[in-house]
Amino acid sequence: MSLAAAPALTDAPPRSYLYYRHKLPVRVMHWINVIAFTVLFMSGLQIFNAHPALNWGKSSYNGKPPLLEIGARMGANGEPQGVTRVLGAEFDTTGFLGVTHGANGQLQPSAFPSWMMIPGSQWLSMARSWHFFFAWIFVVNGILFVLYTIFSRHLTRDLAPSGGELRGIGASIREHLRFKHATGEAAREYNVLQKLAYLVVIFGLLPAVILMGFGMSPWFNAAITGWVDWVGGRQSARTIHFIVAWMLVAFVFIHVFQVIITGVWNNLRSMITGRYRITNEGHHEA
């Protein structure tokens, strides 16, 4: 990998030094986003709990069975049984879906377990209050972040991959699969897969999850009458909202995994104080 991005390195770079990686606005907006997304996801699961089924189409009752349905029924042994149906296939999911552990640890009918939801037990109106408050924080923070990335050139400088990087994507995939990561000066820049992941999340998944949220609103649906049918209908919008929310959770898991294996304290410090330690071991990854 090129060292061209390193600052004025006429001689050998120092063995180890801190550099200012994340500017203050990025750090603040990152942690606001962590809080807002966590609350939105957990309150969203509580809202989903009020009708734990996902349909495709203009309405829930359109003659087609739900794509996903989570429910509870009395099992053969007289104990409540959690049942999850996905595309017609049925699974016993007692303990984690359908019949789950409540706040008191007892099994009870609830699509998701209490510890995944805000509030923890069935309370639709309160979950909506949490969801719509943090949705504002999330959207305003997201808009400010996108504007910042554009006007500070964070987008073009740090996030947009170059043509050369895109052509090297195969090598980057192979490195990721072997859990090999850039070290030394090369670690100053995001790698190509990382850049693409951030771009997909920022300009793909996040706008999609917000738009599909609006797609469930009868008032916003009237803004351009019938627009929600462009994605298959109002219930399709709800299904996409749910799926994209879980895709974002998958991103968070991968993101946190990468943070851990590439130096958890160094990464955390860089997102708190801004300072990231570059360690040159005397050899560089090719």
Binding site: N62, P218, W219, N221
Partner: protein, 258 residues
């Protein structure tokens, strides 16, 4: 560290996640039960309403659908039979003894029989009913535009809301009757009707006979069923729990456009 006592790694992470979330959730749940925090959360609902009205417009039209989009059956939710002696009497006579009375801040208080309402110009619309729970159903509704009734009773300039009183008791022993309210923008909206037919037949008891509100750009709980009277008011603060509706008094938003 006693390695031999170490629980499997997956279990460790599950437990850590469960404990962390229990602490955080305990915090969230006590915030939810506090007096002040829900007020903070709900402080944005006015902003949401203003933005929605600015983006979508106060006069925007809800989507109307084709016959083929209709749900095979229109689900009944909430009350499915008021069951009071008065209501049973109306059902027994095919709502012959029923009258819709309209009063409050109006120039011409009036009562309408079902025959009178059915004789008025009607609007038919195939619309989607979006329940706050997350499901939706599409059905064909026929009824009197509320705007026509406003023209007949002439709300006074100080009137700001129409309050709908219903025949279905939500509490034990026929108490705590359902009620709802909408603002006058929604009251005069062309798709706001008092529906008496559902899918080309008289509105069934399970769906709100003899009259239910359709206010298409808001969630299902605004669509009051079993309406017996309408009152025009300048404020709903003195009615029941003071929040403008049965579910609003239980913590749901008054403006139910999202």
């Amino acid at each position: 560290m006693k390695l031999e006592r170490r629980p499997p790694r997956r279990k460790f992470f599950t437990r850590t996640a469960a404990v962390t979330s229990a602490v955080l959730l305990g915090g969230c749940d006590s915030l939810s039960r506090s007096e002040w925090f829900p007020k903070v959360l709900n402080s944005v609902s006015g902003i949401t309403e203003s933005v929605a009205k600015a983006v979508a417009g106060r006069k925007s039209m809800a989507e109307e659908f084709a016959e083929a989009d209709r749900s095979p059956t229109f689900r009944s939710n909430g009350s499915d039979d008021p069951g009071t002696p008065e209501y049973e009497g109306w059902v027994a006579t095919g709502f012959k003894g029923y009258k819709l009375s309209i009063g409050g801040m109006v120039a011409q208080p009036r009562a309408f029989t079902m025959d009178e309402l059915r004789a008025m110009p009607a609007r038919t619309q195939i619309t989607r009913h979006d329940c706050v729970e997350g499901w939706s159903a599409i059905a064909k509704w026929k009824g009197v535009p509320l705007a026509s009734l406003l023209a007949a009773v002439q709300p006074k300039p100080e009137a700001r809301y129409a309050v709908f009183y219903c025949a279905d008791p939500m509490g034990a022993n026929n108490t705590d009757f359902y009620y709802e309210s909408i603002d006058l923008d929604d009251a005069v909206h062309p798709q706001t009707i008092l529906a008496y037919d559902l899918n080309d037949a008289a509105l069934p008891v399970a769906n709100g006979a003899p009259l239910r509100l359709r206010v298409e750009r808001q969630l299902g709980y605004k669509h009051a069923k079993y309406i017996t009277s309408i009152e025009f008011v300048d404020s709903f603060a003195r009615i029941a729990g003071g929040k403008g509706g049965y579910w609003e008094d239980q913590g749901y938003q008054w403006w139910a456009g999202i």
